[in-house]
Symmetry: C2
Subunit: 269 residues, 2 copies
């Protein structure tokens, strides 16, 4: 097989298997090529991934060694993407009765969801993450987009006890804004004890939900190494219950129908 063909096959393999260590022998057999040919291919791919600003191909020497695609997306692309989201979200027809912002169309677009995943992955770059945790429902696709690039599992916290999940740990917590008592449930089997996790959710107001998630995760002895929310609402009535988090966009003045959408904490660092 020619180099040009191998480069297509190898590139497809790596971008579809981020953070997965693969031995070179897998490729020498698959493409019937020498180790030195494959090694040169990988050099070309590594240089081009860097040029495109989408990460790099890391090499690990030795018997158990191989190559691994480490996704990392340039800040420049993130800024452009977030800017375009802000413009879309500032449309006044998105304001719903009750002071909510309609964004289901954006979160229903798989390519936007994938982009959001890329931004979070780059924000959490170099952090050791064993699992991505979210709470149903709207954060789920975002959590999978992040987990996909990190090559780690997704754990979904439920709002109600499910009979189909086996024994579970549940907590009650006070929702920040409404001050109502709510429940969160996580089946014991779904998360091993002592993991490093990042929390992903679609929307944060006072931060009650995230605070609830952190409490529940403590029951699993998990360490929260990152918190990412797609949108945060600027809320002057309540103090934020969470200090350290990464948001892509910040929405304010929703109640007054004079909507204002700007960059979130991710670009204020």
């Amino acid at each position: 097989m020619k180099r040009s063909d191998r480069l297509v096959g190898l590139t497809n393999f790596f971008v579809n298997n981020p953070q997965k260590l693969v031995q070179l022998s897998y490729f020498t057999e698959r493409y019937n090529a020498s180790k030195s040919s494959i090694s040169e291919d990988l050099d070309i791919i590594n240089e081009m991934l860097k040029y495109e600003g989408i990460g790099s191909l890391e090499r690990f020497p030795g018997a158990a060694g191989g190559a691994k695609y480490i996704p990392n997306f340039t800040n420049e692309n993130s800024i452009q993407f977030i800017q375009s989201l802000c413009e879309k979200l500032e449309d006044p027809s998105r304001i719903l009765p009750g002071g909510y912002l309609y964004m289901s169309d954006l979160l229903g677009d798989p390519s936007i969801v994938r982009q959001i995943g890329k931004v979070f992955v780059s924000a959490f770059f170099k952090k050791e993450i064993d699992a991505v945790v979210t709470v149903e429902t709207k954060g789920i696709p975002l959590a999978y987009a992040v987990a996909d690039y990190l090559n780690v599992p997704v754990v979904v916290i439920r709002r109600n006890m499910r009979v189909t999940e086996g024994s579970s740990v549940s907590i009650n917590y006070v929702s920040g804004r409404s001050q109502r008592i709510q429940t969160m449930v996580l089946p014991k089997r779904n998360l091993q004890e002592g993991m490093n996790v990042c929390i992903i959710d679609d929307f944060m107001k006072a931060g009650g939900t995230v605070t609830g998630m952190i409490s529940l995760l403590e029951e699993f002895k998990a360490t929260v190494v990152g918190i990412g929310v797609f949108a945060e609402a600027e809320d002057n009535n309540n103090e934020r219950m969470i200090e350290q988090y990464t948001s892509l966009i910040k929405v304010s003045n929703l109640q007054n129908k004079d909507i204002n959408v700007k960059y979130g904490s991710i670009l204020q660092k």
Copy 2:
């Protein structure tokens, strides 16, 4: 830029943007190359995508023309993948009290979810699909995996009316197995009228949920062109309410703890 570099960049672009028509001028500018060079690159990529059994690069001539990656995955890979799932699911420790099967770990693995998406995409190949519809919660990642390869939006039916979604259409339906009355809600804004949709869900018993989804979709004048469920339960007590569907695996004898997992309808065609 050299051909070898362009091939890496182009392959990455196409596998990350399935079903998206791109004009050749986009690439001639991006990589500072002639139209004939890019055209030769695309021929190489097309041949290699076919060789790898992951689809093809379609070319559209004319002023508004360009190239588009059409994902289509070989049956061979699907069979191998489904076989490995069956083996994993036959583990008796997966049987939960009440005769349920634990599969959250598999559906929490982004690479397995992506594979399931590939199988459905190939099963629905050549069907005109405008949107993928699912119902919360566990079908959501599968729906996004399918929609990602089809380049269409995901519409999530909710179990409860949400104040954050604006005016909605809701229906009541009778759950097949429990014979309980349940509710489904879809905000009006989330789905345009008259779309061709495919339904994706994680589990089907008698088919009550899917029947409910079809009723709700009728209110949006949608045409259901495909139904895909990850797992179906062989249920001798009830007749199946749905005739036409694609399942990856079929689970039986769960109640007796003598679990049996085999290929679903997808391999019986």
